[in-house]
Symmetry: none
Subunit: 190 residues, 4 copies
DNA sequence: TATGAATGAGATTTCATTCAT
DNA sequence: AATGAATGAAATCTCATTCAT
């Protein structure tokens, strides 16, 4: 692992654990066993480092989602596989999804351009889900409906599930499975 | 309005707008037209002020939720009214729900006791929802199911909906209404 | 006890326990069960309050020292009684000698006049000791010597003894008795 | 001189001149011609800087005491040389003994561990004196007595002498010499 | 590429003192 | 005399970023 990679890894770990504001250059360089100056050298500034960390996580998420969805027979099945992959990703310690849960581009990034890069990348996630949804409506596995609104419903459920599971103490075993089940019901019975 | 109240109001506005870390004592005292030292005098420190702001919002939310569900005929109706009240609250500019959406007790509060106070207050919200759910199961308006898991499903959908609506640019008109409709379907068709 | 007296008592306790800088108006008024504003009302400012506390202690010390030396037959006996009274005073919880040990007029008081008032009062203590010494030289109980230098020797031994006993962890039982014994020897055998 | 050393020097000067509480980061960094942030960078916080300053002074004191004592023929002579070195150190402008006289670890250091480090270092000073005392009792230059109590007597006299000389206005020329003379008498005639 | 000392702006917090009641 | 809210200056400490090596 190069020092640049070590820095990115440390950043993903620490941003996910402490949040953006509470994570300092000193913490990151120490965790990465690297001199502090190297951070600015490789990534420019804190926000750019966060951007790099978030983008790295998002790209890995997109790869997994695409792979999961490919194996689906119907659109509904694709949506379900998407949900399982998304929630599964949130539990994978090596995936560092917490970076995107504990931090928020909308609150933590002050530069509009940086924020837009990330927001645009994240929208690819929901675009993929919407393509599954549209496929399901076309192939009849999902009853006719506005695919965009249906996608938003699912995305909201996923977002809320991950926050509840990973951030709050209210979470109960079975939350993810049960929520996927209910989401699928809502799609099928609409 | 006393200066103490002015401080709380300014805190709710600014925490909701800029997040915890980006809101400074100077911003709050300036917005409240008050000397900076008064903040510590009345609220002790930044975290305690955030706690006070969050608790104030939560208590008003609970009042509205209680009022809303009281008027319901069946448990299912109570759940639906709960959802509408919760989402409506998130859109009310005077309610300052953004304090609890932009900030997070789990990331922003370092003192365990403070966090627990807030977490415990927030759990009252979901306890109320669960009581509606149980009522619905008893009165037959909701098919038999684990009331706790069903409550978690609804709460996740609400949490995700509010975040999507109020924080992200992905939101589309009709999101709240559509999501409530789907949630109710998922409860009725399970 | 009037509120003014309660404030002085609290000040003596707290200055002696925490030192000048670490003792705040809030601590004093809370300990005295009195409103903070009363402090400035009765004593003007922190330094004047410290002055009042120190003077109160010094005056009580002087009374005790005078009483003690009065009963002495010889000058040497007077010196010894002085030492016993001084060291005894430092152990009396009600005497609050710690105010003058933990704090220091030379470091803590910024106003020259205040400092001089206290310094001048403290010099009365050593003037009394010197008068005992002179008496001892006159009555032959102390061998001929410079009474001022002899007084300084005793005062240094007393000052060091009290600091060692009350502030440091090096102190050993018997320190006071042994030191008085040695001081008397040094006077008699010079 | 590195900037770190410049900071330590400035700290020793200013703590010794104004005391712990009255010495500010701004004063120190200005005196050292260095940015304020460097203080925290090199020493962590004010207390740790004071610890470093005090330890530096103590270590130099110990070196001088050891050197002085080595050249002594008898134990009594060693004790006397110790006293002269100790008091001489207090007058050496480059030694900055005032740091330890004007400030006090018992009042100024809030962290127990820091305090203990310093207290433990200071006890080495008195341990050295006690070893001289024991030697004197063994070699007959000091009459038989409890070496620990005798050491405490001398240490109290030294502590009191330095305070009187360096902090108070009561001091008279010849104080140090006279006090050493009396202390030696007290040891020889006991 | 790599280091870590150095910078300086800014944040929170403390607290003596004032003031209206 | 008594209260405690209110003030604002100052202090400590943090930390992203720069820079010389």
């Amino acid at each position: 692992m190069t020092k640049k990679e070590a820095l990115l890894l440390a950043a993903k770990e620490l941003f996910g654990e402490y949040g953006y504001a509470e994570t300092t250059f000193a913490m990151i360089s120490q965790r990465a066993q690297v001199a502090m100056g190297l951070l600015a050298h490789h990534y420019g500034n804190k926000e750019k480092l966060f951007l790099a960390a978030g983008m790295d996580v998002l790209e890995r998420l997109l790869v997994r989602l695409h792979m999961s969805v490919q194996e689906a027979g119907t659109g509904l099945e694709a949506v379900e596989r998407f949900c399982r992959a998304y929630l599964g990703f949130s539990l994978d310690p090596g995936a560092h999804f917490m970076v995107l849960i504990r931090c928020s581009p909308y609150s933590d990034m002050k530069t509009r351009e940086d924020r837009e890069v990330m927001v645009s990348k994240f929208s690819e996630v929901w675009t993929l889900l919407e393509s599954c949804m549209s496929m399901g409506i076309r192939d009849g596995s999902i009853p006719p409906c506005d695919p965009h609104l249906a996608t938003q419903f699912v995305s909201c459920a996923l977002v809320g599930s991950v926050r509840t599971k990973r951030l709050t103490p209210y979470s109960t075993p079975g939350l993810y499975d049960e929520n996927i089940r209910r989401v699928i019901i809502a799609l099928k019975c609409a």
